[in-house]
């Protein structure tokens, strides 16, 4: 069936099965490759993106649920070439190693900061549940705190 999707502020029309995972629509049909496939069972968080500002694991999220809502992917975080504070913090802390899981973590961080602007370590532990194999958690934690600082100074 035909569906209208709003992704990163742009309108898209797709013709697909209602139950098609949002991840596959975004990656394979709309060619936005920043959101990653990791497990297909919402277990690793590599496919995390935002639907109306909340973190969603898109590999297990039927596309029809996203209809009429605002979808944000890693490609939509920066505006007019201006890095999002979370991306800026990730750059400043030189977080990525292999980099594959990083968009998912950054999207989960954006959602966390939407909810809790100045998270404690405890908040981070309880909300950031994605998997990183290279073990960049240590720098990610620093980057999350730094992003919270950057957000404050932007207000």
């Amino acid at each position: 069936m035909k569906m209208k999707l709003e992704i990163n502020g742009s309108q898209y029309e797709v013709d697909t099965d209602r139950n098609m995972p949002l991840l596959l629509v975004i990656r394979d049909m709309l060619d936005l490759k920043g959101t990653k496939y990791g497990c297909g069972r919402a277990a690793c968080g590599s496919c995390t993106l935002l639907v109306d500002g909340e973190a969603v694991r898109s590999c297990s999220y039927p596309v029809s649920l996203a209809e009429g809502r605002q979808i944000t992917t890693i490609e939509g975080l920066s505006e007019n070439g201006q890095r999002h504070p979370v991306q800026q913090a990730w750059i400043e802390e030189i977080v990525p190693q292999c980099g594959y899981c990083q968009p998912g973590f950054m999207m989960a961080t954006v959602a966390l900061l939407n909810k809790i602007p100045d998270p404690t370590d405890e908040d981070i532990d309880q909300n950031i549940l994605n998997v990183c194999r290279c073990g960049t958690y240590f720098r990610m934690r620093k980057a999350i705190h730094r992003a919270a600082e950057l957000n404050k100074s932007n207000i």
Binding site: L24, T35, K36, C39, A43, Q97, C98, L129
Partner: protein, 723 residues
């Protein structure tokens, strides 16, 4: 003993090929298979300097310079996450004399000819290319200088190369201006290397070259590749160990929506469909009959992996530990175990292939560009130079991409349908068909003297294969060595001052695939040896740090190990007592000539082991990028503690399980230490291994701390107080 003032005093020139591989192959197999020679070879392998096998003579193959003056390095090594490409760019920029901002780096496609003959792995990219890349870049720089001299009609001696320009006699040409007019390069015989003290980028924490792409979500991975008109493939895989294909019924499959073709080959059955989901759904309808002889269980595997079973080879021997152990009034003995481990890299294996009559292109994440190419060419009946492998950034390597049969499968499906095909593993397949870190069993024995010194020590390790059976290791090397150097990596006793010591490797062939997992045997072997050292120190009533120092020999290797041990202890403020509910555990290892020491600060809450802080001292020699050395230490600490504390594959009714993140427990954000303190020593003047050595000591460091807190000696990974 050497004093601290001699820091950086060791000078070596790492260019001559000093590989045990070369030595062994030259000597032939007959007389090198004697036990003495095998030990000598094992020692050479253990201490070998990294080498690079590939073109190191033709700078034009390595560097492309545009008319705008941008320099692109075509790297035959792939970026797996360790930041190695950034190191290569730093080295090249310094030697070329070009601002690093003017440099780009890409993975060399196999058709470019700049092909690594071996693999990316073993922590050898920066260390192995250090000298060759400097020489290549210096040669390129001299070519630019000579060309500029020709264009300016002056003597090359009057020109200097700096900042992406060649200048002299009041004139300046940019690299771009020079290459715009070049007709034929003159390649000088000798190109002098710049003095390292002149380098601006080497030794500095330059930001990673791939940072921006990785933070912005650029499509740089194998999984992100696509080709026009591409279809999607899926391949049926057995769920049981040792399953043999009998036949497949695909009656239902051909009727499934979107199915383009069912592909039946002698060794696999796949389906190609219009979308990924359709391919997956169609695959589920293929009814395959498999045949298995046996329903393996974890218990069966554990009974196989036992010291005393399989074939032993002595890999290290000094003095006569056998006699001492036999005659001693008290022999201290302990056994340790490690489980089957999964790579669990987040980007699944896969490939995008396009095949025409006389040409094939495969885009994928691979650590073995040459092997991938050769296998695809063989399978398709093409010549090697008709196949172009396009390597991408790897969403984690860790040894999982040292064999890529899926590239052949994608290529075969692409040929059958006449269109490009993308094929990748789903996560269950990725877990079930991993090439696992083999389980291990260790028996350690020692005799202490009356004054609490180790008189004799033996380490027996039984392991599944790591490098044996790997297509990148020639069979001849396997028969020469006799023992699996991957399985015993880290298994030699690094305390050379123990008068009598031996290490023995027992080989066991398991019924499922085991292979290279980041740092190979290092994690398990160090866990065993360094836990045992701790037990001996306690038994002798000695401080665990001093006890270690007392057993290290006085030579260069020993000096470097002692220095990291002292540095870690000092930086952590090591105390062998429980303080505020926390205890410190100490452990050290030497891997690929890089010594590392860890202090883990641990508490136990209920049955939960919590690692609060890890201090890591490393001596990689010259640190080309100190920030990335630090990043590797942090990453190795976390990946190592994940493997040491949580990870375990089981064999249940013939199947490897679990097959999903979550059930396959791994370290998450909440488990990672809040503090990781890294100390970098540079007691060598060339860069050494970085990407794996810091994985070594972490398991033992944690277990040693847990003992101090609970009195329980955890001798089996994953370390747990439950049950």
């Amino acid at each position: 003993m050497r004093g601290k003032k001699e820091k950086k005093g060791f000078s070596r020139r790492k260019f001559v090929v000093r590989s045990a591989v070369g030595v062994g192959v030259l000597l032939g197999t007959t007389w090198v298979t004697s036990p003495l020679w095998r030990r000598a070879l094992a020692d050479k392998v253990d201490k070998a300097d990294p080498i690079y096998l590939g073109n190191t003579k033709d700078p034009v193959m390595w560097f492309y310079i545009s008319n705008e003056g941008r320099v692109t390095l075509h790297s035959p090594k792939v970026e797996m996450g360790q930041g190695a490409l950034t190191g290569l760019v730093q080295i090249a920029a310094d030697e070329l004399g070009v601002p690093i901002e003017h440099m780009d780096v890409v993975h060399a496609e196999s058709m470019s000819g700049n092909l690594d003959q071996f693999s990316t792995g073993g922590s050898t990219t920066v260390s192995g290319l250090w000298q060759p890349l400097r020489e290549l870049a210096a040669t390129m720089r001299e070519m630019l200088r000579m060309e500029a001299a020709k264009q300016m009609q002056v003597s090359a001696d009057t020109l200097k190369v700096d900042n992406g320009t060649v200048s002299g006699n009041g004139r300046t040409l940019t690299f771009g201006e020079i290459v715009a007019h070049v007709e034929e390069w003159t390649i000088p015989k000798d190109a002098p290397l710049r003095d390292i003290s002149e380098y601006q980028y080497v030794g500095k924490p330059v930001p990673r070259v791939d940072l921006e792409d990785k933070v912005m979500g650029a499509p740089i991975f194998g999984m992100d590749a696509s080709l026009p008109g591409m279809l999607y493939g899926a391949v049926v895989r057995p769920t049981k160990i040792g399953a043999r294909f009998v036949d497949a019924n695909t009656m239902e499959t051909v009727l499934m929506p979107g199915v383009v073709k069912v592909v039946k080959e002698k060794d696999f059955v796949g389906v190609v469909a219009e979308t990924q989901l359709q391919a997956e759904m169609a695959k589920r309808t293929i009814k395959v009959k498999w045949e298995t002889d046996r329903n393996w269980q974890t218990r069966d595997i554990e009974e196989m992996i036992l010291v005393g079973k399989g074939k032993p080879i002595v890999i290290q021997k000094q003095g006569n530990s056998k006699r001492l152990l036999r005659n001693a009034s008290e022999v201290i003995t302990a056994e340790y175990k490690s489980p089957i481990g999964a790579h669990a890299q987040i980007e699944p294996n896969g490939a995008v292939a396009e095949v025409r009559e006389d040409y094939a292109k495969v885009i994928l994440s691979t650590q073995v560009v040459r092997l991938t190419r050769n296998e695809v060419a063989d399978r398709l009946g093409l010549k090697k130079d008709q196949v172009n492998i396009v390597p991408t950034y790897l969403g984690g390597g860790f040894g999982r991409r040292l064999h890529t049969p899926h590239a052949m499968q994608a290529a075969v499906m692409a040929r059958v349908v006449g269109k490009p095909v993308k094929y990748f593993f789903d996560r269950q397949e990725e877990f079930q068909h991993d090439t696992f870190r083999p389980p291990t069993h260790h028996v350690l024995k020692a005799v202490l003297s009356e004054d609490g010194m180790i008189e004799a020590m033996e380490h027996n390790v039984s392991s599944g294969d790591v490098m044996f059976g790997s297509p990148i290791i020639p069979d001849i090397l396997q028969s020469i060595l006799g023992s699996d150097a991957g399985a015993w990596r880290g298994g030699m006793i690094q305390y050379g001052a123990i008068p009598h010591h031996r290490a023995i490797s027992w080989r066991v062939k398991l019924p499922f695939a085991t292979s290279w997992w980041r740092s190979l045997g290092l994690l398990a072997n160090t866990f065993a040896i360094e836990s045992f050292m701790d037990e001996l120190a306690l038994k002798a009533g000695k401080d665990p740090v001093q006890f270690r120092l007392d057993h290290i020999q006085d030579d260069v290797r020993g000096f470097r190990l002692k220095e990291v041990i002292k540095a870690a202890a000092e930086k952590a403020g090591f105390m062998d007592e429980v303080h505020n509910g926390r205890a410190m555990g100490f452990a050290a290892s030497t891997d690929a000539n890089t010594p590392v020491a860890h202090v883990a600060e641990v508490s136990v809450e209920g049955k939960q082991i919590k690692v609060h802080k890890v201090t890591c001292a490393i001596d990689p020699g010259l640190a080309v990028n100190p920030d990335q050395v630090r990043a590797q230490c942090e990453g190795c600490v976390i990946m190592g503690m994940s493997a040491a504390m949580f990870e375990k594959m089981e064999v249940v009714d013939g199947s490897l399980r679990p097959t999903m993140y979550g059930p396959y427990k791994m370290a998450l954000m909440k488990h990672a230490p809040k503090e990781i303190d890294v100390v970098i020593l540079e007691n060598d003047d060339v860069p050494g291994a970085v990407g794996e050595p810091p994985l070594g000591p972490i398991g033992a460091a944690i277990a040693n701390a847990v003992y101090r807190l609970t009195g329980k000696r955890l001798r089996e990974m994953p370390l747990t107080l439950e049950g």
